[in-house]
């Protein structure tokens, strides 16, 4: 039987890379990856600048010209439905002198525009990003005595288009990727893409968005979401009706699925999917899809970092009718209860991690989803 020993910051032990063998005592990320501000700065490039990141839901921008903005790390983008009914993403940056063009516009309160216009010098772009017009002052040299009008070059519509951000979808979920040569979304999402696209997710509307700020590293919450060893002791209301012993945590290349079996069967009308269970998907690095076992609806979590010690949990709830029934409102309230219980746990864990006593945590044998999560973080850091 393997023997393991806690790696304290006591001058005796050194931290090691995350071992691919979960039975090793160094099976978790060293603690400093959760608390060091330099790590978060690195993650902006090596995690949030390399992998497919959730940008929003297509149902929120149903009409041509509908758009919302989204900020990922330091990058602000516009997600817009173009004239061909395609959802595209662009940096919210004018090609002229780099001004941000549109005001921050949340997905919950989208705006509509026939064209995207920079308010600074009125460069104007079509919804496909191409430059459609500039003021006359960019076509002649009337104020510059050193130039003749014929010296002024033409501004080509395509060569001066907005900078597009690579985007792709899983059903109605829009993802963006800032890397120059990324893996495909198909590869990152794996079987999760086909499983979700087999479901009528487009038939459901965003009914509630609740955004909470939590005092811990985003990965601390990600790890907590990914295992249920803590559920028996800490989610006593929720686990009533869940057969934890029959549940299973399934690990794939870049996502994992938590299958929670209900102790008693639930009517098919109370689920979108066929399996008689709740299915919670975690897609690396910070997106979850919550296919409930007891509600005709689904939810998503975006675990959106603020810095190394805080994140926002953007919790979206989708139902057939955006006006919630009493039962659906009660379902959301129960979900909020679960979140608050988890926030207390992760903030408590983070308080301990920040004290600096623990050099490297160790994971249990049933925390293999968290192990995968830590391995992926390490892979991203070392790339």
């Amino acid at each position: 039987m393997p023997y393991s020993m806690t790696r304290w910051n006591d001058g005796l032990d050194e931290v090691e890379r995350v071992s691919p063998d979960i039975t090793d005592e160094t099976n978790a990320l060293p603690a400093r990856y959760f608390t060091d501000p330099d790590v978060y700065e690195m993650e902006k490039q090596k995690v949030f600048g390399q992998y497919w990141i959730y940008a929003g839901h297509t149902n929120c921008i149903p009409e041509v010209g509908d758009y919302y903005t989204r900020t990922i790390g330091d990058r602000e983008i516009i997600v817009v439905r173009d004239h061909d009914d395609e959802v595209r993403a662009f940096y919210n940056v004018c090609a002229h002198r780099g001004s941000a063009m549109v005001d921050e516009t949340p997905m919950t309160d989208p705006d509509n525009a026939r064209r995207i216009r920079c308010p600074y010098h009125l460069w104007t772009y079509d919804l496909d990003g191409s430059l459609t017009s500039t003021p006359a002052s960019f076509e002649d040299a009337r104020l510059n005595p050193d130039l003749e009008d014929e010296d002024v070059g033409e501004l080509d519509a395509e060569e001066n288009a907005l900078m597009e951000v690579r985007s792709d979808r899983i059903g109605p979920f829009v993802f963006v990727n800032f890397a120059e040569d990324p893996m495909s979304l198909d590869e990152q999402a794996g079987t999760m893409k086909a499983e979700l696209e087999a479901l009528p997710l487009e038939e459901y509307q965003l009914a509630r968005r609740i955004v909470s700020e939590v005092e811990c590293n985003w990965k601390t919450f990600g790890g907590n979401y990914s295992e249920c060893d803590h559920c028996q002791a800490n989610h006593q209301d929720w686990i009533t009706g869940i057969a934890l012993d029959e549940s299973e945590l399934e690990v794939n290349d870049y996502h994992w699925v938590l299958h929670y079996t209900h102790a008693e069967d639930v009517d098919d009308e109370m689920r979108i999917h066929d399996e008689h269970e709740a299915k919670f998907y975690y897609l690396w690095p910070n997106f979850t899809v919550n296919m409930y076992g007891t509600a005709d609806g689904y939810g998503t979590y975006l675990i959106d970092p603020i810095d190394e010690e805080r994140f926002q949990l953007v919790a979206d709830y989708y139902f057939k009718d955006p006006d919630l029934s009493e039962e659906e409102a009660e379902f959301v309230r129960t979900s909020r209860q679960l979140q608050e219980e988890d926030f207390e746990l992760v903030e408590r864990q983070y308080r301990g991690l920040r004290s600096g006593a623990l050099a490297q945590a160790q994971l249990g044998p049933n925390e293999h989803t968290v192990h995968k999560f830590h391995l992926l973080a390490q892979e991203a850091y070392e790339a």
Partner: protein, 118 residues
């Protein structure tokens, strides 16, 4: 059992039922901006332990001018939001009014997110 110390500032988004406690007044404003970016929701200041008397007026310029006596290099914008909260204004409403008054030239920022009256 330890007792957590009460933070001097707190705000809430009633739409989300989410509260935020902070050590600094300007962090209330930062919370509003982050929250609004995702939700479009406004937030209310629910607690503000501000030094000195809060001016008894609705006039933003006067509020900033009187609070300036207690601060060097401008009044933190969160302190102004806290003062205006006592007059029933949300953080979003105060920031909008600050923007409007700044655009008239009557207020300026001697440093980022700190206000002074011209």
């Amino acid at each position: 059992m330890s007792q957590q110390r009460r933070t001097p500032f707190a705000a809430t988004c009633t739409a989300c039922g989410v509260d935020r406690e902070t050590a600094s007044a300007n962090e209330i404003v930062a919370f509003y901006r982050r929250h609004h970016r995702h939700t479009g929701h406004d937030v209310e200041v629910t607690r503000a332990d501000v030094d000195g008397d809060v001016p008894d007026t609705d006039d933003l310029e006067t509020v900033v001018a009187e609070l300036e006596e207690h601060y060097e290099e401008g009044v933190p914008i969160g302190v102004v939001a806290a003062a205006m909260a006592r007059r029933g204004r949300s953080v979003g409403e105060t920031l909008e009014e600050i923007h409007e008054v700044r655009m008239t030239g009557a207020l300026y920022e001697p440093r980022h997110d700190h206000l002074a009256a011209f």
